[in-house]
Subunit: 210 residues, 2 copies
């Protein structure tokens, strides 16, 4: 969302147009990491799900349940809630130790499972956090997992896919943005993006089918 919003009116126009280009069978995620008091979150949910018609959104859990509820009320949308993110700052608060000796992000995962009464929640977990993914994957239950951090941020697609495969789970979605769209800055950027995308899908398919 930031890259569109940064361009003001023109950016919002391009956002509408970009969404129009995407076929109906492709999941579109509004990666805005929103979260606010209930009254305001309600408007963000209407913005993302009714106005722009995203299929899914990323949400920030800091402000707690009533900040997420307006999104969770959309039963046919998929709400990916931040838990342990891919960036260095995830150590500051997400990995702070709680009184019960767990980490804050683990408490967030526990709460998401409680709040998932409409079966429309997922979680965001950084692909750069291999050790934590290994030890926490059992906590996720049936929640679908969105994994940013492969490519520009340094996460390994093979590592991530192998961990899910070993856990017998295929409920994951690996998000690669810069690694695909910036593969070429020449006129062939669209073709090159497709080449990169197909290579990534091939890696996933090959690991999962072994």
């Amino acid at each position: 969302m930031a890259f569109y919003e940064k361009e003001g009116l023109k950016g919002i126009e391009i956002l509408y147009e970009s969404i129009q280009f995407i076929p109906d069978d492709v999941l579109i995620i509004g990666d805005g990491k929103r979260g606010d008091i209930g009254n305001t979150s309600q408007k963000y949910a209407e913005m993302l799900y009714d106005e722009f018609k995203f299929d899914s959104a990323t949400l920030n859990p800091y402000m707690g349940k009533d900040s997420l509820d307006p999104f969770l009320a959309y039963k046919s949308k998929l709400n990916f809630i931040l838990t342990l993110t891919s960036n260095p700052g995830s150590n500051d608060f997400e990995k702070v130790k709680l009184a019960d000796n767990s980490f804050l992000y683990q408490e967030v995962i526990k709460k998401i499972k409680l709040w998932n009464v409409n079966n429309n929640c997922g979680l965001v977990f950084g692909a750069t956090k291999k050790e934590e993914l290994l030890s926490d994957i059992k906590l996720f239950g049936d929640l679908p997992v969105l994994l940013p951090g492969v490519g520009a941020q340094g996460g390994s697609i093979e590592d991530v896919v192998n961990i899910f495969k070993q856990n017998g789970s295929s409920e994951f979605l690996i998000n690669i943005s810069r690694g695909i769209i910036y593969r070429s800055s020449e006129e062939d950027f669209a073709d090159q993006a497709r080449v990169e995308l197909e290579a990534m899908n091939e890696i996933i398919a090959s690991i999962m089918s072994n």
Copy 2:
């Protein structure tokens, strides 16, 4: 931000226009509670501070320091970071107990003070949290405090102002939105908003000058 964004293109146009109407000596806060990986937060910072030219913004600390840094690099802007918010969900994570027996939001306050090297940070603290405000006000140091939650959400302006007065501090800003703009739904809404605003300012001035 949500109420503008919800209207799509038209809303963004109205946001630009609204900002034009506000005199230069009034602090304009972009209350978007943004926070993302550094690369993306950079674009949000440019959006809020360069494109819309807000003087200040509210930020969500969940993702840690590098998610705030692009905002903190704007030395002449004021960055209000969420600590204990005014909504019921603040109990879910903000008031979770840490291993050192403090609450998460207190750890956030501590970190904001460390990160305030450009002297451009403030904190958001719910006006509905009177007990916590009383016990934590000594933690704030010199950080300016933005207090939402008076009016529609139930916080008392007298309580809040008295607590700052007793602490010898005047570095606070009380945000009242619905209580002022929705005071009248008739044609006199602008006049009625002014009446309400002046009454609130009178309450503050009277307590602070005693």
